[in-house]
Amino acid sequence: MATTSEETSARNADGVREFEIDVRTQDVELNMGPQHPATHGVLRVLLRADGEILTGGQCHLGYLHRCAEKIGESVDYIQYLPYTDRYDYLAAMNNNLGYSLAVEKLLGVEVPVRGQYLRTIIAELNRIASHLVAVGTYGLDVGAFTPFFYALREREMILDLFEKICGARLTYSYIRPGGVMNDAPAGWLEGVDEFCDWMDSKWKEHWNLLIESKIFIERTAKVGVVTAEQAIDWGCTGPMLRGSGVDWDLRRDQPYLVYDRLDYQVIVGVGHRGTVGDCFDRTYVRMFEIVESVKMIRQCLAAIQDGEVCHPDVGLLLRPAPGEAYVGIENPRGELGHYIVSDGSKIAKRVRVRAPSFCNLAVIEDILPGCMLADAAAIIGATDIVIGETDR
């Protein structure tokens, strides 16, 4: 198999090539997707491969484009809320939150304290759910089926909690401009507490079953390395950025909601099993963020007081002041930004969604060449994209 000339040529003591295997075969063009198990949806990656080794990759997106931004210019502010559920359907609560915060910025209203705590709890619960799916499906990508079902078992409990509080299991529209839809039903907060205990006791199971598996480490360590410079340059955010060793978390560095009152750690990839910024580090960051989220939820549960959950002046028909607002929040996949331009009427002039997966995905074209075909699945999986979000 012809690889780089470095590997196929032997050098003598002076470093001069003595011979070179110059058998080069034609590269294979492989169409990975849009219907492919490893692309997490309808992503199409056009791979060029020399045998098992990739020489290039190009992403083709748009198979799930649903014109979210155009719709934002034709429906009013509250009507747009359900569309936000649909970009990152694994973390719909966080999407609601990002959009609501941007609208609140234009409205100039601050959510009551109980509402903020509820939002924080919900957002962190959804982060756990999303990270569980991310790590579980990553297991699928590298060929381990069982961790996925364990992850779903835990996620199911979160979905049950969400169902109790808002009636929906996937697309919630629970967090809305002005606060949240309704207060938590009786016993719900205790249910969250029970879930925290459960998650704490089961976390080690996930860690032992998948992350500490020798084969998993072999498959992910030193694979798909994104250096810190690369990650910053390509606009990576979230676990992708932190996995590359950059200490940046919007919850700490641009504090919103009540995150400044909570005590938690920002998990940064340290090259636990290989190089900083490899696929293992991204998974490592996600796994430990679950622990940190549980910690945050516990603190919120301890601090939450009775009170209003929604600002009384914010009704169903919103007329924010003219102006423009960009609000970026820490979604499970990175920075979800909403850039809203208002002219004071009930319909926005522009709703721009800065989707984390879209930006995180761009970097893989840079790191695919030189990897093996099986690594392509591992790299795409570690990027943790949701196609609903890249295509919007």
């Binding site: 997106l61 210019e73 100039g108 606009g235 919103y256 002041a321 960009y326």
Partner: protein, 199 residues
């Protein structure tokens, strides 16, 4: 650097206002014509504000607005120079978003919008530049920020802004043969696409 204090429920505001002022001063020193726009409404709404604003919209008068402050470049030819200053001198390492806005179908200009983030200073900055609709180009900043690559492709297919010097100006979300620029306000929806009825 210490994280900025949380002054609102949606994140810090003052640090961004300050960052925009600093950047405006730096641009002035470098001889790049730039205008700093700062919101003239308070961060939190006052009692009865929306009624007052609605009344004012009818009567006319000075525009009152809220939200982020932004810098507006006077000359789009200076975009690359401005971005280089932002990246190299002011420490904005990441371009978070590149997009466009078509504020009104009647306007002669689109806005090119750049949202930047400084990890070092924990500050955000929005830079805007006017793009005439009949001569719709901007310089590509991919050479400075790789992250702009896909964003510029997206903005170019949706608004028709040609990013000069972009290494790979294909469509990213729309099909390659899509006609028109969907996010422009005067965009007319097609009746059919390759024989598929869109109505």
């Amino acid at each position: 650097m210490q994280a900025p204090a949380r002054d609102t429920g949606w994140g810090p505001m003052q640090v961004h206002f300050e960052a925009a002022r600093l950047a405006a001063a730096a641009f002035e020193a470098a001889g790049i014509a730039v205008q700093l726009h700062e919101p003239n409404l308070p961060v939190f709404a006052e009692e009865g504000e929306s009624k007052r604003l609605a009344k004012k919209a009818k009567d006319g008068g000075e525009r009152e607005w809220r939200g982020d402050s932004f810098l507006k470049l006077a000359d789009r030819g200076q975009l690359l120079a401005a971005m280089r200053i932002l990246r190299d001198d002011l420490g904005y390492e990441q371009v978070i978003d590149v997009t466009g806005v078509d504020y009104d179908a009647e306007d002669a200009n689109l806005w090119g919008v750049y949202c930047l983030l400084s990890l070092r200073h924990k500050a955000r900055l929005t830079v805007k530049v006017d793009v005439p609709k009949d001569d719709c180009w901007l310089d590509s900043i991919v050479s400075l920020y790789s992250a702009a690559n896909w964003h510029e492709r997206e903005s170019s297919e949706f608004f028709g802004i040609v990013y000069r010097g972009h290494p790979d100006p294909r469509h990213v979300l729309l099909p390659d043969d899509w006609v028109g620029f969907p996010l422009r306000k005067d965009y007319e929806f097609p009746d059919e696409y390759h024989g598929i009825s869109c109505n």
